[in-house]
Every structure is written in C-alpha cells, then in structure tokens.
C-alpha cells in the first residue's frame, strides 16, 4: 500500500486578494471544501436554533410568563425544530460524509463534484428562504412572518383557512428546495461508495463510517421523497384549490400524518446512523482495538434501516388508527430496539480489554453510549402504545427525542469535530478547553433533559407557550431552563476553541491519533488531490497493517 507517498509539501501560499479566496470557496467543487461549507453553515444555524430554544426556555422558566407573545412562541418552536433538523443536523452529516467518505475509500473526490456543489447551494438557499420569512412573510396579506404550524405542520392547520398568509409556504418551499439538495447528495454518496473505492476495498473492507453513510444515503432517498410528495400536495391544496388534506371536502387530515411520518421516522435514522458511524471510528482508536463484530454492526444497521421504514405510525398512536394497527406498530417499534441494542453491546465489547484513552473525542463518545442507552429505553417506553397515550405529545416525548438528538447525535458530533479537526485544519485543538466544553455541556445537558421527563410524566403537553401554576410543573421547568445556560457556555467554549486553534493550534501532522483508516495516511489538511497515488488495501485497517507488518489484520478477517 502506497501510504508512504504522502503529498509534496505545500508551497507557501502567496497572499491573495480576498475576492479570489472567496471565489474559490463559492465556486468550489472539491468535496473537502464543500464538506467544510456544509459544516460551517450548520454550525451557524445551530447557534440560531439555540437562540430560539433559549427564547422558549426563558418564556417557560415560570408559569404565566410574558417574555414573548403566544404568536412568537409558536414561531419559535416551529423554527427551532425545522432549523435543527433540516439546516443543522442534516447538513452537518452531509458535510462530514462529503469530507470523509472519499478520503476513507481512497478516492480523489465524490462521484459527481458539480452535483455536490449544486446540492449544497440548494440546501443553503433553502435555509435562507426559511429565515427570510421573518422579514418577508407578511406578503400581500399582512398576515405572515415565520411559520408557526409546528415542524411537522399537521393538516388542516396548514390549509389556507387556518394559516392565511404565506408563512406556511416558506416552510413548504424551503424544505422542498433543500430536500432536492439532500436527495442529490444522497445519490452522490451512493455512487461514490459503490463506484470509487480504491483497489482491494471490497464492501466488507470499508470503514464502518462509510458503510453507515451508505445506509444513510439509501434512507434519504426513500424517506425524503415522501416528504417532497406531501409538500407538493400541500402546495397544490393551498394554491390550486385541491383537496388532498381538505377535511371539508372529504379529504383526510390523517393521511398527511401518514405521509409526514413515513418521512419523519426514517429521518431520525438518517440523523443517528452517521452518528453511529463516528462512534464506530472513534471508540476503536481510543480503545486501541478493532471494532468488535464488524459484520454484525453492518447487518444491524441495515436491519435498523429496514425496520425503521415500517414503524412510522408510533407517532400516531393517539390518532385513532384502531387496535390492530396500533398493535402492529408497537411490535415493529419494539423490534428496532434489538439491532440497536446489539450495536451498544458491540461498542462495549470494543472497549472491553482495550487501553482506553480519554481524549476529548472519546469523552464525548463514552457519554454518548450512556445517554443513547437511556434514550433507547425511553423510546421503548414510548413504544408501549397505552403508555404513549399518556406520554405522547407531552414533555416526555420532547425529553426523549432531545436525549437522542443532543445526548446521542450531538455528543458524537462533538467527538467527530475534535477527532477530525486536526485532519481538516492541520492543527490540534486546545485539549483543556475541549474538556471544559465537555463537562459544561454534560452538566447542562443532564440538567435540562433528565429533568424534562418529569413534567411530561406529570401531564404537561408540548407546544404550549405558558402553563398554570399549581400543576406541579414549576420547579422542573425552572431546572430545565437553567441547564440551557451551561450548554450555551459550553458551545461558546467549543466555537472559541475551534477558532483559536485554527490560527494558533499546534501543528498536528498527518496522524496525531495513531489511527488506522486511509484519511490518516495523507497530509493534514489533505492536498486537493487527496492522495499522491491511489492506495491499494488488503484489510479494514490498512494503516494497522502497515504499522504492524508482523500481525496484519488481513490474516484474521
């Protein structure tokens, strides 16, 4: 394997007019730059979505508060959810996929670089269009501003009758446009992984992160399309007078729910499966052991994806589908717990007997393991339909899904940031600051989301801008809101660390973590062409084989 042929040393970059540098970024089709664009874009919206959460938590810190009006609050939860899912979580996963997949399979770029750029700019435009609604939502009716129908926009609340003005259309159009971007990226990821792997890297030798992104991309293709279809139907209803969701003409509000959740549930797997990918790369390196049960991990992920397409109506247990349908969806949802649990056990077995080093990436991934366990268990609780009849649409559900998304996905994302930051920037981040970020965020996360389960159990529904005193919810809401402060400070420390380290961090070299996958065989940051010569691999850990020629992996796989 030609890993020794690391690139020529980069020449001194002559100082360039700013316009040139900007143009390079705007016109780029390089997967590494597009990856970074996606990630920076997502971080920007993470802060905005966080501010929206902050506004809500201030409003809810005590009963009958009047920090914001009900109209503003309703826009906040709609925009917070929509932003975080579509303009933070998805772009950031696409960004990491874009950056890492070609490097990890020994390719020079994605299969379709220009499609890559097109998809990014579509997504970017979608986000800007959504936020333009704050300014331009009034339209011709003086009745608008940002969408306030909730991130799943149930019919008939979204019909012209109940949502006059254009706010709902901003929701629909911005997601339609960025959905096209998402499908484009998914096609690109699949074509790249299927067609551009370096010689010797058959499907059973790809890094797990690559496998998981392949599964994720397949899910995007099958899941985002139903949302696209439903949004076209909504637009036709609103502007051509059609009756898809028009209950007055015999249409069905429930069918919107089916169409939305056929997207909505696989969507959460789209978000969490790449997170599994990060954990599956970081945990082995920092335990100094190969991932335990590689084939089972792949099979379990494919199972999760398949079963995940058949559980959507567990979001609809209270809608009145009948006991037969409810029972089926209970079984399907509980079934998903099995492959998910298998993955947790395999990560545990990876650490078992290893030499665990608690650098920042590993700290975040270990926290992920504990937190994802809890999130999975509250998910099992919610899958019990009768229990769901009490807990559904309450703060218990809000706590559950934030436990998955923040405690699971965001934690592994932080781990991924710290792990690959040296590769992307060529510099090490500040270690102590990273640990400070970890502890601050851990405390804040648990303050907010552990205690958030309680008001749900005590009967507090979601999406309410205020609540009465004397229901027993006051103290819990106070604690939940306080936790946000710790998380906000943690994020500031994180961003500050990244920015400072970009300029002043220690040079990282090509392989600061003594890792085993192909991206660590080239420079940090990699040159535009990634590898001087396309590598040739014989096992899942090509660099392990090089570093341990007496005991290479391909003897055991």
């Amino acid at each position: 394997m030609a890993s020794e042929s690391i690139a020529w040393p980069a020449p001194e970059a002559a100082s360039r007019p700013l316009v040139d540098a900007l143009h390079q970024w705007v016109a780029t089709v390089d997967h590494k730059r597009l990856g970074i664009l996606y990630i920076v874009y997502a971080l920007f919206f993470l802060v905005i979505g966080g501010v929206e959460a902050l506004v809500m938590r201030i409003q809810l810190i005590r009963p009958q508060n009047d920090f914001v009006s009900p109209e503003v609050f309703n826009r906040m939860f709609t925009m917070h959810g929509t932003t975080m899912i579509f303009f933070v979580a998805m772009p950031i996963m696409f960004g990491f996929a874009n950056y890492l997949v070609p490097l990890m399979i020994g390719a020079r770029d994605m299969a379709f670089p220009r499609l890559n750029a097109f998809a990014f700019w579509m997504t970017a435009f979608g986000g800007l269009l959504l936020y333009y609604s704050f300014v331009g939502g009034d339209g011709l009716y003086g009745a608008g501003s940002a969408p306030d129908v909730g991130w799943f926009a149930y019919a008939p609340l979204t019909s012209r009758t109940f949502s006059p003005g254009h706010s709902t259309d901003f929701w629909t159009l911005s997601l339609l446009i960025s959905g096209i971007g998402s499908i484009g990226t998914a096609i690109n990821i699949i074509a790249t992984i299927v067609c551009l792997r370096c010689p010797g890297m058959d499907l059973g030798k790809m890094p797990l992160l690559v496998w998981l992104n392949l599964v994720m991309a397949g899910l995007v293709i099958l899941a985002v399309s139903p949302l696209t279809a439903a949004q076209i139907m909504l637009l036709i209803d609103r502007y051509l007078g059609a009756h898809f969701f028009d209950t007055q003409a015999g249409g069905s509000a429930v069918i919107w729910m089916h169409f939305f959740w056929v997207f909505g549930h696989p969507e959460v797997y789209v978000l969490v499966i790449p997170a599994f990918g990060f954990a599956s790369e970081i945990i082995p390196v920092f335990s100094r052991k190969a991932i335990f049960g590689y084939p089972v991990m792949v099979a379990a992920t494919i199972c999760i994806a398949f079963i995940g397409m058949s559980v959507w109506a567990h979001h609809m247990f209270t809608v009145g589908l009948g006991s037969g349908a409810n029972t089926f969806f209970v079984l399907a949802t509980m079934a998903i717990a099995v492959p998910t649990g298998i993955k947790i056990f395999n990560w545990l077995a990876t650490m078992w007997g290893g030499h665990i080093h608690f650098e920042a990436p590993m700290l975040f991934c270990v926290a992920f393991l504990f937190q994802f366990l809890i999130a999975g268990l509250t998910g099992v609780m919610l899958s019990v339909a009768p229990f769901n009849w009490q807990l559904g649409n309450s703060y218990f559900v809000v706590a559950h899904f934030h436990y998955v998304i923040v405690g699971g996905i965001l934690f592994t994302l932080f781990g991924a940031f710290y792990y690959w930051f040296p590769k992307m920037s060529g510099r090490m981040y500040n270690g102590p600051l990273a640990k400070l970020h970890f502890w601050l965020f851990l405390i804040g996360f648990h303050l907010t989301f552990d205690f958030m389960h309680v008001p749900g159990l005590l009967g507090m529904p979601r999406r309410i801008y205020t609540y009465e005193p004397g229901r027993g919810w006051d103290i819990w809401n106070l604690i939940v809101s306080i936790g946000v402060v710790f998380q906000a400070v943690g994020i500031l420390v994180f961003v500050g660390n990244l920015l400072w380290s970009l300029v002043r961090g220690k040079l990282a070299g090509s392989d600061p973590w003594d890792a085993w996958t192909l991206e660590w065989s080239t420079n940090s940051p990699p040159p535009a062409y990634n590898f001087a010569a396309i590598p040739d691999v014989k096992s899942r850990r090509p660099l392990w084989d090089l570093k341990h020629p007496e005991d290479p992996d391909w003897r055991y796989e």
């Binding site: 306030d148 069905s252 052991k289 006991s323 809890i374 529904p461 999406r463």
Partner: protein, 307 residues
C-alpha cells in the same frame, strides 16, 4: 382513578421495571469497562489483544433482547385490547365532544344538553359501572383530549371521529388540557372534568336542560347582546341567539371558569373578557366588539343572569 388510566399506570410500572433492570445491567457493564480499562500515559506502548468478534456473544445479546421484546409486546397488546376494544354497556353515559379553536363543546344526546368547557359526568361504581363514552369530533383543526387521571389522550380530528371511555370511581375535579397543537391559543384550551355523584349529576343535567333564565331587569343588556354580533357565535336557549361558532352561554354562570379555563368566572373577569378577549387569550377567535362602557356593563349584567 378511572380504569383506562389505571391499566395504563399498571402497565407502565411493569415497563419501567423492565427498563430499569436493563439500564442497571448495561450501565454497570459500561461503567466497569470505562473504569477498568482506562490507560494512563501515551500511545506507543504495546497494543492490547485485538478481538474481532464472537458469535456466541452476538447470539446471546440478540436472543435475550428478543425475548424481552416478546414479553413487553404481549403485555402491551393485552392492554391495548382491553382499552380500545371495550364493549359499551347499556348504562353508559354518552357525550359528544367537539373540539374548536380554542374551546370544548359538549353535547349529551340522551339529555338534549349542550354546554361548553366544563364536562360533568357521573361517578362510576366498579360494582355497577356507568362509564362515560366520549365521541370525539372536531369543527376545525386537530385537538386532543387529555385528562391524565382519567385516561390516555385521544385526538379530535376533523372528518375522523374517534371514541374513548372513562369510568372514574372517585368524585372530584380532574384537570387536563388540549394535547395537539391547534393554533395560537392551544396552551389555554384547558379541560375541567367534574365527576359527581349520580344525584348531583342528574340535578346538573336537569338544570342544563332548562332554557335560559329570563330576567326583565337586564333586558337592556339582552337587547344589546341580541343586536350586536354576539348572536352570530353564541346560543342562549329560548332566545333569538342560536349561534354555534362559540360556546353555548345558556348556563354560563353554572361554570367555574370562562375562556375554557383561562380565567375564573367572576364578574370582573367576565367584564374584562367581553371587553377584550385578548386580555386572557390573545389570538382567541372571539373579537373585541368595541362596546361602550355603559353597554359593556349592561351586557355583563345580562350574562350574569344566565345561571
């Protein structure tokens, strides 16, 4: 408690127990691994033994979760059936609940009673059950009826009638609120269920079936009420007001709260509400009618006679 709430509670204890057990086991294993195998010092020393997998382990931690899932599923399926497939006895009280933005309409077809926002039902003796069966409809968007101590929530969806049942064994006031986002004032679409003894309930039904109390001293207020747009939305039985868009006001003063629980039913609050609903519920569908102060006083006085 009411049977649906009770069986859900019992099932939930079982589920919590199983989850806690799983959590305890996995948490211990994870903690042990993290503590026992941590390594101080730098990389570079020898690597640990590389273990790539184990079929027995994979089988074990597949089969055991499958068994747990089977047990949980069977327990769940039983409760689903017992709640959703329950047979309606002849002694059941029937109430039709119609969800509106942002208030609740209650109709008792057997008694020809129409009321709003405060639901009265009789207590149900477990020996001779008299459950209340609710038919759930919606006049506009999606809502959800959730009184946790009585039952799980069931949604009210236009063009998709649902039904649920409750049989509280203890009299008292049970609180809840709308649990499906329905617009601006979703937060203040509160539920108040008064569970009464049979005698009290029958008396309440008796009172509610009467037409409106007629009092000549407030005929000014009544005239203003019937001449302005109030009658477009509100009904007062036995008068010219037959609007159905807003709550039925025939026995308004028999209710403890107004604005679907957003404020208590005092003369002061009533006056403020009629003057400008947005003081309690900004975004409520009831407009401020712009009444002059004398008119406002008259109308409020009239409303206060609707016992």
């Amino acid at each position: 408690m009411s049977t649906p709430a009770r069986s859900i509670f019992d099932l939930s204890l079982f589920v919590l127990l199983v989850s806690a057990a799983i959590f305890a086991v996995v948490f211990s294993l994870l903690s042990y691994a993290v503590l026992k195998f941590r390594k101080q010092g730098l990389h570079g020393s020898h690597e640990p033994a590389q273990v790539y997998g184990s079929t027995q382990l994979e089988l074990a931690w597949t089969v055991i979760p499958v068994l747990i899932v089977v047990v949980l599923f069977l327990a769940t399926a039983r409760v689903i059936a017992s709640i959703q497939n329950a047979v309606r006895p002849a002694s059941a009280i029937e109430v039709t609940v119609i969800g509106h933005q942002f208030w609740w309409e209650y109709r008792y077809p057997a008694f020809s009673v129409v009321t709003a926002n405060e639901l009265h039902i009789p207590v149900s003796d477990p020996a001779h059950p008299t459950p209340t069966f609710l038919t759930l409809l919606s006049a506009d968007t999606d809502h959800s009826f959730w009184v946790p101590r009585l039952a799980g929530k069931t949604d009210l969806i236009p063009n998709h009638p649902n039904s649920m049942w409750i049989d509280p064994a203890e009299p008292g006031l049970y609180l809840g609120q709308c649990a499906q986002y329905c617009g601006t004032q979703h937060a203040k679409m509160l539920l108040r269920v008064y569970v009464q003894t049979r005698a009290e309930f029958d008396r309440w039904v008796q009172e509610q079936s009467q037409p409106a109390h007629l009092d000549d001293t407030v005929s000014d207020g009544r005239r203003i009420f019937e001449r302005t747009a109030c009658v477009n939305c509100h009904a007062v039985a036995g008068t010219a007001a037959i609007g159905r868009f807003g709550p039925d006001l025939t026995h308004l003063m028999s209710r403890y709260t107004i604005a679907s629980g957003a404020a208590s039913n005092t003369p002061e609050n009533l006056r403020r509400w009629v003057k400008d609903p947005s003081i309690f519920k900004p975004g409520s569908k009831m407009p401020a009618m712009g009444l002059t102060d004398p008119d406002l006083t008259a109308v409020t006085a009239y409303l206060e006679t609707l016992r």
